[in-house]
Amino acid sequence: AQSVTQLDSHVSVSEGTPVLLRCNYSSSYSPSLFWYVQHPNKGLQLLLKYTSAATLVKGINGFEAEFKKSETSFHLTKPSAHMSDAAEYFCVVSDWVNDYKLSFGAGTTVTVRA
């Protein structure tokens, strides 16, 4: 079965500094991977997805993620954090056989200091 592990439960950064959210996946096959963001009192929103095309994926709001098969990682980065980036971020993998079934990581809460 596919699964993801988010290595940090909480990340705190200063505004204008880089953000790194770490995610490792476990999959027997080439996975489809996603990052979702959940702002307070809002529904989850897709940031970006990887589905076996380019390994460097660009998403909304300046975020990007790199798929590294050798490291089984899909880390999310942003060069310069903004106050509006404060939210919870989920790394997600879809099941190879039943691709409608998504497995979510436990989430990483990002706080941004002024």
Partner: protein, 116 residues
């Protein structure tokens, strides 16, 4: 509608009571999903609908949980004889097709259930 709508947004109930949670997906989305989010944890898959049928109910925690979808639109998740461990945020999502193909599930804001 413009987005996925869920009701109620908050529900407090006593142990042993039944609850119904409603989801209105985005118009035209044939796929509908229910997830559960417990405090401090990731989302847990409950059930998936394609149209009105539910090909995968494997995530339902027990036979106290059931869900239906009518008219390829509204879905209702019912929890009978609620227990304290049912306390969670129940999230509904919809999509045009599978996540791998369309890449995106559209989520509602959730129904927060508290069982006393």
């Amino acid at each position: 509608g413009a987005g996925v709508s869920q009701s109620p947004s908050n529900k407090v109930t006593e142990k042993g009571k039944d609850v119904e949670l409603r989801c209105d997906p985005i118009s035209g989305h044939t796929a509908l999903y229910w997830y559960r989010q417990r405090l401090g944890q990731g989302l847990e898959f409950l059930i998936y609908f394609q149209g009105n049928s539910a090909p995968d109910k494997s995530g339902l925690p027990s036979d106290r949980f059931s869900a239906e979808r009518t008219g390829e639109s509204v879905s209702t998740l019912t929890i009978q004889r609620t227990q304290q461990e049912d306390s969670a945020v129940y999230l509904c999502a919809s999509s045009l097709g599978s996540p791998k193909i369309t890449g995106e599930l559209f989520f509602g804001e959730g129904s927060r259930l508290t069982v006393l």
